[in-house]
Amino acid sequence: MSEELMPDVNGRFGIYGGRYVAETLVPALEELSEQYELIKKDEKFLKEFRDDLKDYVGRPSPLYFAKRWTELLGGAKIYLKREDLNHTGAHKINNTVGQILLAKHMGKKRIIAETGAGQHGVATASVAARHGLECIVFMGEEDIQRQSLNVFRIKLLGAKVVGVNSGTSTLKDAMNEAMRDWVTNVDDTYYIIGSVAGPHPYPQIVRDFNAVVGEEVLEQSKSVIGKDPDMLVACVGGGSNAMGLFYPFIEKNNVRLVGVEAGGLGLSTGKHAAPLNDGKEGVLHGMRTYLMQDDAGQVIETHSVSAGLDYPGVGPEHAWLKDIGRAEYESADDEEALDAFKELTRVEGIMPALETAHGIAYVKKIAPTMREDQSIVVNVSGRGDKDINTVASIEGIEL
């Protein structure tokens, strides 16, 4: 089957994806699928979406040649897709702008979301404020601690933050809690999932709304690079920024697609968040995908310096792209990500999010092995202001 037709009618990417949820949610997901299939062909909706991306988000985001960094690494030319320049500071806003329009179209009055690093929480709270809808954001207590700046931003935007202290108190538990809220308030509530994860049709919806990133790169490459890039690089937690960048390039076999997972303290330590590198097939959050789990099928605690990648699963389409060999999945550990964070900041004056820094770290490794006539586009999925507390505390500095 052509990738363009993915997912299939059952919401599957190969064996991955699907809709593994309790019965109460199946009808809600069926309704969402139906409504989405209708609206995505609706000219009025598409115009509204495009207008919002332009005037509210500030798209298109530039494709920027990182001249000094390219010279420093000495190899392939490096281009940065500047999603960090979007309104609210990350690619996450693309998806929320689309989904809130869908929510309004479906007549929902109440918006819920999960968040890890807080970027999706901020993006959801922003669009909810703009449309005057009630908004509740679920966030693990541990993430509330390490992303306090974003917690405050979400509150200023008028949304309510609900701390989650079950399980590991991180993103996966926030998602469990959001699902529980949705099941309880399914009539009037729309759940804006922030990654290409969860039950069908979410992986598809979130991919489609983020695909604008790859579509722009496809177009911008013609003038900025003069040809298709040789390689696309993006960090992968759930995988929404990577999927958005990769999707329009999937049929272009001349372009290598590389997703970079969080290697945490190192793949060999088991303390990481790299299911595609070191996990196995399983079912969580309504989808079949690669999971960090033990032999008894319990999801295990993940580790990453970046809250946004600290997730034991990954979007099902990435699992599929890995299996068919269309995309490659590498990892960068905490230390490499921190080094990359500092290097890009000092050399280009661009401070990436710690999530993004994992992709940057891989470029640091791979660019010097490539020829000067080759090019890499790396997705700067978010800006790093939110992470200065984390970086400072690692350096032993109190702000």
């Binding site: 309790a22 949610l25 009808p27 319990q298």
Partner: protein, 263 residues
């Protein structure tokens, strides 16, 4: 061989009462106590026991049962452990139907083939995989059918009539009607709504219908018992286990309270 579940429901019908189905988490607070609790539940009138298989991410559970899963996992409980537990329970009780209720990922860790081999050895009667709607049943339903393990399925207030019909056709043992839009232990049960929906279900199936989620005392049990063939109570027991103290005594008295209402 007739399923034990079928037999229980036909006996209950003959006795003109409703089935009491109780839920606890396997290994909460530990294996030995779980077996003692099961025995005491049966003594006080439980007809069928749903044994929760602990999972790290029990998405459909309210806080009570979440905590039960966490307590069991801390003690090292697992699906394999639940089979061992059931084998021990079967030494003294060969007739009470036992259902394993849990989540896909733990069931798949064993795989459908191996699971059913174990199920036969331990004389397991049915499975209820919460996040396995008919569309995602894969080989669990096929393998279950081969060895005569019933597949209990959920129907929710949000389920359409057409869909309910399809679910019923792929269900055996009993149909589990979720009485509320929500998670286990919810408190907003609306008896009139439940009655209307369950009567509608009768037109799709001859299987017994059990009602669960939000049944915690004699009042909530009696509010829905007339339309049901059985009533499921879970969170209330898991809460009692979490409280500690004389767990067996507390569980016995709660089981008795519910069972009397259903007689």
């Amino acid at each position: 061989m007739t399923s034990k579940i079928k037999e229980v429901f036909s006996n209950i019908k003959a006795e003109n009462r409703k089935a009491l189905i109780t839920y606890i988490v396997s290994g909460d607070p530990d294996t030995e106590t779980t077996i003692e609790i099961m025995n005491s539940m049966v003594r006080q009138g439980t007809d069928i026991i749903e044994l929760g298989i602990p999972f790290s991410d029990p998405m459909a559970e309210g806080i009570s049962i979440q905590k039960g899963h966490e307590r069991a996992l801390e003690k090292g409980a697992s699906l394999s452990g639940a089979f061992e537990l059931l084998k021990k329970f079967r030494v003294n009780d060969k007739k009470t139907p036992i259902i394993f209720m849990g989540y896909m990922n733990t069931f798949e860790s064993l795989g459908a083939n191996k699971f059913m081999l174990e199920a036969v050895k331990a004389s397991l009667d049915g499975i209820l995989i919460v996040d396995m709607p008919p569309e995602e049943s894969s080989n669990f339903s096929i393998e279950a059918k081969k060895v005569g393990v019933d597949i209990i399925r959920l129907i929710a207030p949000t389920t359409s009539s057409t869909r309910a019909k399809k679910i019923c056709s792929q269900c055996s043992g009993y149909v589990y009607y979720i009485s509320v839009k929500g998670i286990t232990g919810a408190s907003n049960i609306n008896a009139d709504e439940v009655k209307a929906k369950v009567s509608e279900l009768r037109s799709h199936t001859d299987l017994p219908i059990a009602i669960g989620f939000g049944i915690k005392d004699s009042a909530s049990a009696s509010s829905v018992k007339d339309v049901a063939d059985g009533v499921v109570a879970g969170s209330v027991f898991v809460d009692l286990i979490g409280e500690g103290g004389n767990i067996i005594e507390k569980v016995e008295s709660k089981t008795k309270e519910l069972s009397e209402v259903l007689n």
